[in-house]
């Protein structure tokens, strides 16, 4: 027992001194919506139902700054750039960015001077499939069923229309919410339907207070994907999203790790890390980027545990298909042939959970950031209870053992002094 809690204690201490887990704070600038987009540029003026949305925050730390650009233009995108230069600025050429000509979009978004490192995550497609066999596995669902009816509805995020960012977001909290607007073509006439992405930047290490209580750091942003009353096309619908992870320098891979600790997400012992490690072999190893999540999503807005279900991921593949019309395309532009792109699908649901149709709701949280993905450590409470709980009987045994030994010695001494049995069988 002693070895066990000793090891845990050491792990706890070690996690505190890990060099690459940031224990510093960053100061965040107030989030800007559509920087540089003024009324003189035609798509920027007025109140269109399909608004161009860019949210921009700078997280300034002691050694470097991270620039976050969130956008729903083309496809929901998170673009992060790291620089040590304090004067780096985001420059958006709105006319080119919003032009109908796709080639004009290239390089319309730039940072000047160029950042040291950048990466982007793009949500490209929303899949809906008819899970007639209730396996909750997208690789086991054929395109057509026996009657030649399609079992799939594939929606490209580039066809979605989005509400004005400022309506749903909170600039002071550095939280941008991209919500599909009511007249979305892919959805049936349900005015409550929406797909929304909430993206929030943090300047400190902490943990969200609602499930799945993911840990975030000063180097990361929390992404919530919510499918709210999206009218299902089938009686046994399930959803999945396709994501692309891009970086100018990296190699990507998905790894699932398991832990004994489920304190923060009761019942969930696994964490999935989709890491983009740096390709260069410079020493000390430079930090890459990651997308992290726990394989759990919730079927009610309350996120209660009795209605949670599994999130499955599938092996990532390297791709060369560029998510066009997205911010990533606009930023990487001409560099795209050399950019590393890794794509994967993430599906929501588990067999026997009665499908999306039960509640018509799903919410999934992930953390996207720079550097090493945060790791859960066993909380102090557990360690204290273990040490107190296991230490006390040991103490009692030691003290009791001493007492018994002392008693036996005095008994022997008495025996030696009187030369006779000092204990005799009681009469009564």
């Amino acid at each position: 027992m002693e070895t066990v809690h000793f090891l845990i204690f050491i792990q706890f201490l070690a996690s505190l001194v890990q060099g690459d887990v940031p224990v510093f704070n960053r100061t965040l600038s107030v989030m800007e919506f559509n920087p540089g987009c003024n009324a003189s540029i035609s798509p920027c003026k007025g109140n269109t139902m399909d608004t161009p949305n860019i949210a921009y925050t700078v997280a300034k730390g002691p050694k470097d700054s991270l620039h976050y650009v969130f956008s729903s233009i083309g496809a929901p995108t998170i673009l992060v750039a790291k620089t040590t230069k304090t004067n780096m600025k985001l420059k958006v050429n709105w006319t080119k960015l919003l032009s109908d000509n796709v080639t004009d979009m290239k390089n319309s978004v730039q940072f000047s001077p160029t950042p040291d490192y950048s990466f982007a995550v793009v949500f490209t497609k929303l899949y809906e499939y008819n899970d007639t066999d209730d396996h909750a596995n997208i690789t086991q669902v054929p395109l057509l069923d026996k009657l030649n009816m399609s079992q799939w509805v594939v929606r490209d995020f580039k066809n979605f229309t989005w509400e004005d960012l400022s309506l749903n977001s909170d600039a002071k909290q550095n939280r941008a919410v991209f919500k599909t607007s009511m007249i979305n073509v892919p959805f049936k006439n349900n005015t409550n339907s929406s797909v929304s992405f909430s993206m929030q930047v943090f300047g400190t290490d902490n943990r969200e207070t609602i499930f799945p209580q993911l840990k975030y750091t000063a180097n990361s942003t929390l992404i919530d994907l919510e499918l709210n009353e999206v009218t299902p096309s089938f009686l046994q619908s399930r959803y999945a999203v396709e994501m692309v992870f891009l970086s100018g320098d990296g190699k990507a891979g998905i790894k699932e790790s398991r832990s004994i600790d489920d304190e923060y997400t009761p019942g969930v012992f696994k964490t999935v890390d989709w890491k983009m490690d740096r390709h260069t072999s410079k020493q000390p190893q430079e930090l890459g980027s990651f997308v992290q999540w726990k394989p759990v999503c919730y079927l009610t807005p309350d996120r209660d545990r009795q209605n949670d279900t599994k999130v499955k991921y599938y092996p990532s593949v390297n791709t060369t298909v560029v998510p066009q019309k997205s911010l990533a395309y606009a930023y990487y532009g001409d560099q795209l042939p050399t950019v590393v792109m890794s794509a994967t699908n993430v599906s929501f649901g588990l067999e026997k959970d009665k499908f999306y149709n039960k509640f018509n709701y799903t919410v999934w949280t992930s953390v996207i950031g720079y550097g090493t993905p945060p790791a859960d450590e066993i909380s102090v409470l557990v360690i204290v209870v273990i040490i107190a709980g296991l230490g006390t009987p040991v103490l009692v045994i030691v003290v009791g053992g001493i007492y018994v030994c002392v008693k036996k010695k005095t008994k022997l001494k008495v025996k030696a002094d009187f030369g006779a049995e000092s204990s005799y069988s009681a009469i009564n």
């Binding site: 027992m1 066990v4 845990i8 398991r258 004994i260 600790d261 489920d262 304190e263 923060y264 997400t265 009761p266 019942g267 969930v268 012992f269 209660d304 545990r305 009795q306 209605n307 959970d353 009665k354 066993i378 409470l381 557990v382 209870v385 273990i386 709980g389 296991l390 006390t392 009987p393 009692v396 045994i397 009791g400 007492y403 018994v404 008693k407 204990s423 069988s425 009681a426 009469i427």
Partner: protein
């Protein structure tokens, strides 16, 4: 005392030539081997009936554990609400364990008592199933409460029947057999309820989950009805045997006097603490085990249920064995300490490692058997015989109180903080039990070391005690 039946003779021996009363002539079917209460085959058949008397109650007691994942999702309840099914079973028994003997001896009599308690068990399970079918959580809690009113008292009735029919050398074997049957009932429940649920579910597509659940629980009530039939038949046979053999009704015989409590020594209270602190780490854990094994070890429901039932099935076989061994060796406190430490190790394994749970659950089953076989006999060593009824009563009362409270607390811990913290909670309770155990040893040592004696020394002591009392009686 000369008429005391010798241990070698069967209880209801024939050939009692001194009886001048007319013995009833058994004709026809009644005179055959199987129907004659004097013959072994009849008593064997009665034994079978007795064993099945509480089969239904043990089967249905753990229905929630076997169906935890579907219950939580179909009824939309939290883990804490789920554990209230166990808490409501224990609440009535905090008080009822004092009255079970009284009700059987003075109010109902053994035959009617067994039937009434069986009715409560069956009725409770039916109400429970009805509550599930109509998606009324409060009704399910009521059902478990009614079930609890019958469950523990039925076990007392079963023991009373056993003592009445099998007093003497066969009694220990009968007790062991009854307990094993009950544990088998629990194991069967764990392993078949999910497949039954799936079967019913597949035949009723499109129906609400809670309707399927209700139907499955009604099927569970079938085992209770079977036990009720056994109770009825047993009552008939017992009455008949009473008439034929002119024997007395079975009595529990234990008198409960609450004023005895002030006489209980410190060792008795330490034993109670060990009892409650230990048992709350076994039964609530099994209640919550299904989802734990599903989620931590990635087991599917049937594998998770199989692992969860290991403690029961192993104790079904190991309890009689360890009972025999511990009776032979004595040193009860060391055995209790061993059982506690080993269980501590098992919970630590489950909490901090991913070692195959078959290992830890099997070992836990053995440790549980060791502790149960070593702990309960200690009560008879610290408390005089006329106070034993009260002693067992208070021990069971505290045990049920602990189970009721810890069930709810455990459920809340899982909802809020997950399974690692739940295991740490159980480890803390085992530490309490261990401390109480060490204190018990120390107190006992300071009082002469009576409790932890090997059985050899104990018999020597008893013999010298008898001899010295005989010596006293001789005139000077």
């Amino acid at each position: 005392m000369a008429d005391l039946p010798d241990e070698k003779e069967p209880l209801l021996g024939d050939g009692n030539v001194q009886t001048l009363d007319e013995e009833e002539e058994l004709t026809g079917c009644g005179g055959t081997l199987a129907c004659d209460p004097r013959r072994w085959l009849h008593r064997f058949l009665v034994l079978i009936l007795m064993c099945f008397l509480s089969f239904g109650s043990y089967f249905c007691y753990d229905n929630p554990a076997a169906l935890q994942d579907t219950m939580v999702s179909d009824l939309q309840i939290t883990t804490s609400q789920f554990m209230s099914f166990y808490a409501w079973y224990s609440w009535p028994n905090v008080i009822l364990c004092f009255f079970g003997g009284f009700l059987i001896d003075r109010v109902f009599g053994i035959r009617l008592g067994a039937i009434i308690f069986s009715l409560f068990v069956t009725g409770g399970q039916v109400i429970f199933a009805l509550g599930a079918m109509t998606n009324k959580f409060w009704l399910m809690d009521v059902g478990r409460f009614v079930f609890g009113l019958g469950g523990e008292s039925l076990a007392v009735a079963q023991n009373t029947y056993a003592v009445n029919w099998f007093k003497g050398r066969e009694l220990n074997m009968v007790f062991g057999l009854q307990l094993s049957f009950s544990r088998v009932g629990s194991t069967v429940n764990m392993n078949i309820m999910q497949p039954i649920y799936n079967l019913v579910d597949s035949h009723m597509p499109g129906s609400e989950g809670y309707t399927v659940l209700g139907i499955v629980l009604f099927l569970g009530a079938g085992t209770c009805i079977f036990s009720l039939v056994c109770a009825l038949y047993l009552a008939y046979l017992d009455k008949r045997a009473k008439r034929i053999l002119k024997k007395d009704d079975g009595k529990v015989g234990e008198v409960i006097r609450l004023k005895d409590l002030k006489d209980f020594p410190l060792t008795m209270w330490l034993i109670c603490i060990i009892c409650v602190a230990y048992y709350v780490t076994v039964f609530p854990f099994i209640g919550l085990g299904l989802v734990f094994f599903e989620q931590k070890f990635d087991y599917d429901p049937s594998a998770a249920n199989a692992v969860n039932s290991l403690v029961y099935i192993i104790s079904a076989g190991a309890s009689p064995l360890f009972g025999f061994v511990i009776d032979k060796t004595g040193n009860n406190i060391f055995w209790v300490m061993l059982g506690t430490i080993v269980t501590l190790g098992c919970h630590a394994m489950l909490a901090f490692t991913f070692i195959n749970p078959y290992v830890s659950m099997s070992i836990m089953g053995l440790a549980y058997s060791v502790l149960a076989s070593a702990l309960w006999p200690l009560v008879a060593l610290v408390v005089p015989e006329h106070q034993l009824g009260t002693a067992y009563g208070i021990m069971q009362s505290i045990q049920n109180l602990g189970l009721a409270v810890v069930a709810i607390v455990a459920g809340s811990i899982v909802d809020a903080k997950g399974y690692l913290l739940l295991e740490v909670f159980f480890l803390a309770w085992l530490c309490v039990a261990l401390i109480a155990c060490v204190l018990l040893y120390l107190v006992d040592v300071s009082q002469g070391g009576k409790l932890n004696m090997s059985s050899k020394r104990r018999t020597l002591l008893e013999k010298s005690h008898e001899k010295s009392t005989e010596e006293e009686k001789k005139p000077l």
